[in-house]
């Protein structure tokens, strides 16, 4: 049922149209008057109706950021677009338009009710972002693939679905298919699905659905595993020891090493390498475990600090609030008393007293704040010292462990060199038993070449180890610096300024009120 758009001039969503719609649909009566007087901010509008406007293109809606309900039915829209700013949208009506493809909904994660009735849609797709979808209406469209409905299985909240008037509705299995494949559904084509139908449908599609569920289950598991792995890796990364619980570092030493594999072919080197790898990996594992432990300790330390600080702040806040409440009580009494009094002298003395009380309150609040600042300063200092100790110990221990790695590499290198020399001598004497590939043979041209090759391999290995060490140390130190920066900034400076300005604001307000009272009294 598409309207021909050569008969009427297509309209454009412009400022004028929006303004008019907002005003028409906005508050009425006195409220409307006030609203008109100060103007309506598009960002405050919650519901907007733009129907029967002959709109061709969705546009200019980016200012309606808090919109929850948008009706654009009975237009000639061809493409869903320009709605990325409407993130709070819950209710979207695009029925009776000329839309062919579902798209452009990726930012609308809060949508519960989506109506695309009477369009030209031939496939349900691109709706993964609508996780909270409850109601979907895609009747009178061009859907013809029943299998396409399996896409809707991802919407666990989907309760109501309207599919009437699509080509696939003529399929005799249509109803049972929908009911069986979408178990969360309660209403189909606005009719309650009764238990008998559901049972019949389930029976009809028992096997394919079991299969489907099995697949979904597996997919879900895969994703979960992936996520678990990722979180674990992130944890390791947070502890700066990622990839150390295995031979990854060892392997990486040999990954970029061009000479290494060649040298590995020398007789005896194979065993040498295996032993070397074993020891090396054991040390890596040590670093890894130590790193995790330290990470845990650091975390405990930080959370302990944070709770202590929060507690102190909360106590302080409660004390402050008590002071203010007491003062408010006093003030309330005073003002009720003054309102009934007509003795000017009495009023004056009372106000004088009141002003003094205000000063006292200010003193009290400020004293509390200063006390808290002192307390926090001490605690933060202690915390900083402890953290610095902790990180430096960590760094030292890691360094010690890594130097063990380096020693291993050195020993390995010496042994390798020995083997190389022996091999060279043998080769010179032509006593070599087994055949070596040509490129390896090339290394044994003379002693310098072979020494250089072994040396190059060794240097590369040492470089890798150094890099890893640097990496761990830098990251740990950076973390500490960032942490302390945040703590100082937030707990000391920002909080203090905030509180002081708050107190002053409050006191100013109190003084102002007294002044107005005085004026009134006068």
């Amino acid at each position: 049922m598409s309207r021909l758009y050569d008969t009427v001039e297509p309209a454009v969503i412009d400022e004028e149209m929006l303004q008019k719609a907002v005003e028409e649909q906005g508050p009425k009566d006195e409220a409307g008057r006030i609203a008109k007087q100060e103007g309506i901010d598009f960002a405050d509008v919650l519901a907007l109706r733009l129907d029967f406007k002959n709109i061709l293109k969705i546009d200019n809606l980016w200012r309606f950021t808090s919109l929850t309900k948008l009706q654009m039915d009975n237009n000639i829209i061809e493409k869903i677009e320009g709605m990325d700013a409407l993130v709070n949208l819950v209710w979207l009506d695009l029925s009776f338009n000329n839309i062919e493809v579902i798209e452009g909904l990726d930012k609308l994660t809060k949508i519960r009710d989506l109506t695309l009735y009477n369009n030209k849609i031939s496939s349900i797709e691109n709706m993964d972002a609508l996780v909270d979808l409850h109601v979907l209406s895609v009747g009178n469209n061009e859907l013809d693939q029943l299998e396409n409905l399996i896409y809707l299985r991802r919407f666990k909240q989907l309760k109501t679905l309207n599919l009437n008037g699509n080509p696939f509705c003529d399929d005799p299995n249509f109803k049972h298919y929908v009911i069986a494949y979408l178990p969360s559904l309660q209403f189909l084509d606005y009719r309650l699905i009764d238990e008998n139908t559901r049972a019949a449908a389930n029976e009809q599609y028992t096997y394919p659905i079991q299969q489907l569920e099995h697949n979904e289950e597996q997919a879900r598991k895969r994703i979960e595993d992936q996520e678990a792995k990722e979180t674990e890796f992130n944890l390791h990364k947070g502890a700066y020891v990622e990839n150390l619980n295995g031979s990854a570092l060892f392997d990486s030493m040999f990954a970029d090493d061009t000479e290494g594999p060649k040298l590995a072919l020398l007789p005896g080197v194979d065993e040498l390498l295996t032993g070397y790898k074993e020891k090396y990996t054991a040390i890596c594992q040590q670093i890894f475990e130590y790193g995790l432990k330290e990470h845990q300790r650091r975390g405990d330390e930080v959370s302990g600090f944070q709770t202590a600080v929060d507690e102190a702040k909360e106590d302080n806040r409660n004390m402050g609030m008590r002071k203010i409440n007491d003062f408010n009580e006093y003030r309330r009494k005073l003002f009720t008393e003054l309102a009934q009094s007509s003795d000017q002298a009495h009023i004056d003395t009372s106000l004088e007293q009141h002003n003094k009380e205000i000063d006292k309150l200010w003193d009290g609040l400020m004293a509390l704040e200063m006390q808290l600042v002192d307390q926090l300063e001490d605690t933060i200092k202690e915390f900083e010292r402890n953290m610095a100790d902790m990180v430096s110990t960590f760094v030292e221990n890691v360094q010690a462990l890594i130097s063990q790695c380096r020693d291993l590499e050195n020993t390995h290198n010496e042994k390798l060199l020995e083997v190389a020399i022996v091999t060279l001598e043998k080769m010179v004497k032509n006593e070599l038993d087994d055949e070596l590939p040509d490129d390896v043979r090339m290394l044994f041209v003379d002693k310098d070449t072979i020494t250089n090759a072994v040396g190059a391999s060794h240097d590369l290995h040492l470089l890798k180890i150094d890099n890893k060490e640097d990496d761990i140390i830098t990251r740990a130190n950076n973390w500490l610096a960032a942490l302390m920066e945040r703590v100082h900034n937030e707990e000391e400076v920002k909080r203090n300024r905030h509180r002081v300005s708050e107190i002053n604001n409050f006191i100013d307000h109190l003084r102002e009120e007294v002044e107005t009272f005085e004026i009134q009294a006068a």
Binding site: E30, E311, M321, N505, H509
Partner: protein, 850 residues
């Protein structure tokens, strides 16, 4: 008695001498009296002296009450022997209670008087309820004289029937019940204080007044965290603090001293008067040993009051002997220090001298009564060597029976009054009083019970769910506690006894879970009303209303004359869905000043809260007009200065909703007032009606159930009668013909059989004939009608024809039925004949001949 026992005896002698000396110090007269008593060789028990009460007709007692079996005679003789040896060995000890006479004047051994019985009431499975039941059920009669053992010990059944008894009767009944419930219980014969012996509780605190063990909430010490902030510096003078502490300590000490003096004075006042017979008063109570039924420690139960005491209690001054249904033990330990140091290891023969050797482990051997008797009398040692032990005979007492009605009535006549220290406790049976009261505790200020302090009344089965009413006579406050299930969900209601009407001081507490509005508590004073709420959707938790004096209205006005409201204060919990600065925490409607004050919630990290004040537009309460607003009608204080002030539209909407909210609050308050009035009216009505509810399981009182049961019983009876009628003897008429002979001779039997069969045959034939004749008659009639029809067919009207046809079909039907009956009769007759023959053959009276 073996040598071992003699040795023990020597030790015990020494101990007894010590005891004697101690007692000698106390009073020479006592000693003399006691020594004189001990000199009596055989305490004669004269049956003629035993007073058999007239009310218990002697004939009504079962035989076992009136005579002794051989086994019982044996044990009596054995006990007598034991007693003789005991008296011989321990001349200075008091006689034992071994063989008192029962209510029929027959000597019975005390252990056989105990009849372990478990009564069919769930509550009586625990020792405390058992003890309470016994204490309630029996009326106490003091021993006379208080220093002598009773010479009669009635059975528990008789004690229950008479509903009175002395401490020995109490203890025997209680011990029977406890043993039945599986406790390791013993009767204890010994000495106790005057207060215990005479059931004088006026020096005890009423158990209902004792405060429940106050739960000491152990304050968890805050663990000092590593980063705990340091407390602010204490700038006070240390010297001043020290001086103050010293002063406080001094005052504390003074106060403590004063308290101590006061306590001493009170305890002096409460101390019982000196008792001339202290330590001589005989008493009997119950000992429950640890072990069975998960009893962790041994304890005493005082059967007269039902209270339990630890075995170290100083009210119990000494133990002579203990016994249960299996054995009898004499205490060989020194009781000069009361029961404090006694060991209750009954297996330790140095401390407890047993009567029967090993009743703990009953031997499998069946003792030969004759030989046992012979040996038991002549030579005890030989008996021991033979390892054939005397067994305790079974109890001669019939099972203890308590009907549900008796159980419910409890105390004699269903009423009991106990006097405690400064308190009087009255107990009533259920349904005895019209208002359902079961317990009433009056607390007094003085020992003479004259100055009433407060009255507590407990109720059950009340239709208005009233459970407890406390009337404090000092403050004049009455507090009523209700159970759940009332329509108005009331839980507690406190009011002044002088002014029960509405708009006075009162507090009502509700079951908030059951109420739609979540009301927890409503307090009222003449000019104020406070309501506390819980778990409401609108986060309201407190509402406070101030009323002014009611205006006088003239003329008849239709609407109720409410008190004008001056001020409403409503407080709200934090609604996490809103921003703190927009979430109202307190809302005050100054109705008389047309002002509305709002205080918002404090943001998490701030100490000040935003406020806003509205002045209500003049026409706000007129629904027909729209509310107009001008900017000067509102003033505000905003905590966050960086935030821009809200739009006028927002403020206007707020005002509109506030005006509405005020209206709703006023309505809610009026509804509350109405509810109070209704509640009070309802309470008055309930109090005057005071109907008691009857459980559907209460077969006695539930009239409907009772009727139903009676109907069922009647039906059963009828059914039984009918069956009896059916089972009339088929041979009776024939036997009568023969003159009902005692024994049927062969000849007679054959004749009987023939007669009987002939009779049946005749009857069968008669019946067949009858049917046949009817069949024929019916057929003839039909034929006649048919002929008549054929003759008159032409001249017949349609109606006649129809009548004829109807008749025909009916007749045919009758004929058919008769035919069927005849056929069946023919078929059945031989069977019936055979059946009768068979019956005669198998008949018990004739079976000799066939």
């Amino acid at each position: 008695m073996d040598e071992n026992a003699e040795n023990n005896g020597d030790q015990a002698n020494n101990k007894a001498e010590e005891t004697e000396e101690n007692e000698g110090e106390l009073s020479v007269d006592d000693l003399r009296a006691e020594l004189e008593k001990i000199d009596i060789e055989v305490p004669e028990v004269e049956i003629s002296e035993v007073h058999i009460q007239q009310e218990d007709a002697y004939a009504e007692f079962p035989m076992s009450y009136k005579e002794n079996t051989n086994k019982e005679k044996l044990i009596l003789a054995y006990a007598e022997n034991f007693r003789r040896q005991y008296v011989h060995l321990y001349r200075d000890r008091k006689p034992l209670l071994l063989n008192p006479v029962n209510e029929c004047g027959i000597e019975k051994f005390v252990s056989t008087t105990i009849r372990p019985t478990l009564l069919p009431f769930q509550e009586l499975y625990g020792y405390d309820n058992c003890a309470e039941f016994v204490a309630d059920y029996l009326e106490f009669q003091a021993l006379d004289p208080p220093v002598d053992l009773p010479n009669q010990l009635v059975s528990p059944t008789t004690a229950l029937k008479r509903q009175k008894g002395n401490s020995f009767d109490f203890a025997t009944l209680l011990c029977s019940m406890l043993l039945g419930a599986g406790y390791d219980a013993y009767c204890v014969s010994g000495y106790a204080t005057r207060e215990i012996c005479l059931m004088d509780q006026t020096r005890d605190i009423c158990p209902l007044m004792k405060k429940k063990g106050e739960l000491k909430s152990e304050e968890k010490k805050k663990e000092v965290r590593k980063y705990q902030v340091k407390p602010p510096k204490d700038l006070r003078s240390k010297f001043d603090l020290k001086m103050q502490a010293r002063r406080e300590a001094e005052e504390e000490a003074k106060a403590a001293e004063r308290r101590k003096e006061e306590e001493a004075r009170i305890s002096e006042l409460e101390k019982p008067k000196p008792d001339a017979l202290h330590g001589l008063r005989i008493h009997c109570w119950v000992l429950v040993l640890s072990g069975k039924r998960e009893v962790p420690d041994s304890f005493f139960i005082e059967p007269l009051t039902g209270n339990t005491y630890p075995t170290e209690d100083d009210k119990f001054l000494g133990i002579e002997s203990v016994w249960n249904h299996q054995n009898y033990w004499v205490n060989m330990q020194d009781c000069s220090n009361g029961c404090k140091d006694l060991s209750f290891d009954l297996g330790d023969s140095a401390k407890w001298e047993y009567l029967l050797h090993s009743s703990e482990k009953p031997s499998l051997e069946i003792p030969d009564v004759e030989a046992e008797l012979y040996e038991g009398l002549d030579d005890d040692e030989e008996e021991q060597e033979d390892e054939r032990h005397l067994e305790m005979p079974p109890s001669w007492v019939h099972p203890i029976l308590v009907t549900p009605k008796e159980y419910e009535t409890r105390c004699p006549l269903g009423k009991k009054t106990i006097l405690y220290k400064k308190a009087r406790l009255e107990k009533f049976a259920r349904y005895l009083l019209k208002d359902g009261m079961i317990t009433k505790l009056s607390v007094y200020d003085d020992y003479e019970l004259r100055n009433l302090l407060s009255v507590k009344e407990w109720f059950v089965n009340r239709q208005d769910k009233l459970e407890l009413r406390v009337h404090n006579h000092r403050t004049g406050l009455i507090t009523e506690y209700m159970q759940q299930g009332r329509l108005d969900c009331m839980k507690e209601h406190t009011y002044k006894s002088g002014s029960p009407g509405p708009e006075t001081d009162r507090t009502m507490v509700f079951y908030d879970k059951a109420r739609v509005d979540g009301l927890v508590k409503r307090e009222e004073t003449p000019t104020e009303m406070m309501e506390h709420f819980k778990d409401r959707d609108d986060f309201l938790y407190y509402r406070h209303v101030v009323f002014s004096k009611r205006m006088k209205k003239f003329g008849a006005s239709t609407d109720a004359n409410h008190r004008p409201i001056l001020k409403i204060t409503e407080r709200f919990h934090r609604n996490k869905e809103k921003i703190a600065g927009e979430d109202v925490s307190e809302c005050v409607f100054h109705i008389s000043e047309d002002r509305i004050q709002l205080t918002f919630h404090c943001e998490d990290k701030r100490v000040t809260a935003s406020t806003r004040e509205f002045i209500k537009p003049p026409n706000a309460n007129d629904k027909s007009q729209t509310i107009t607003m001008t900017p000067d009608m509102t003033s505000t204080f905003q905590v966050d200065t960086t935030k821009k002030s809200p739009k006028n539209l927002y403020i206007y909407n707020m005002l509109v909703s506030l005006v509405e909210a005020e209206d709703q609050s006023v309505q809610a308050i009026r509804a509350s007032e109405e509810e109070i009035k209704e509640c009070l009216l309802e309470r008055i009505r309930e109090e005057t009606v005071s109907e008691l509810s009857i459980s559907v399981y209460d077969t006695e009182r539930n009239e409907k159930a009772k009727q139903h049961r009676k109907e069922l019983e009647r039906q059963q009876l009828e059914e039984k009668l009918r069956r009896q009628e059916q089972e009339l003897d088929y041979l009776a008429p024939f036997l009568a013909q023969m003159g009902d002979p005692e024994k049927i001779a062969r000849q007679q039997a054959f004749k009987l059989k023939e007669d009987c069969l002939a009779d049946l045959k005749q009857r069968l034939i008669d019946k067949a004939n009858l049917i046949q004749s009817r069949f024929e008659k019916e057929t003839q009639e039909l034929q006649k009608r048919q002929q008549w029809y054929q003759q008159n067919q032409v001249s017949m009207t349609k109606e006649d024809e129809e009548e004829y046809l109807a008749y025909c079909s009916e007749a045919m039907f009758r004929i058919h039925i008769l035919e069927l009956r005849l056929n069946r009769h023919k078929e059945m007759a031989p069977h019936k004949y055979m059946a009768l023959e068979q019956k005669i053959r198998t008949d018990g009276r004739l079976s000799d001949y066939f």
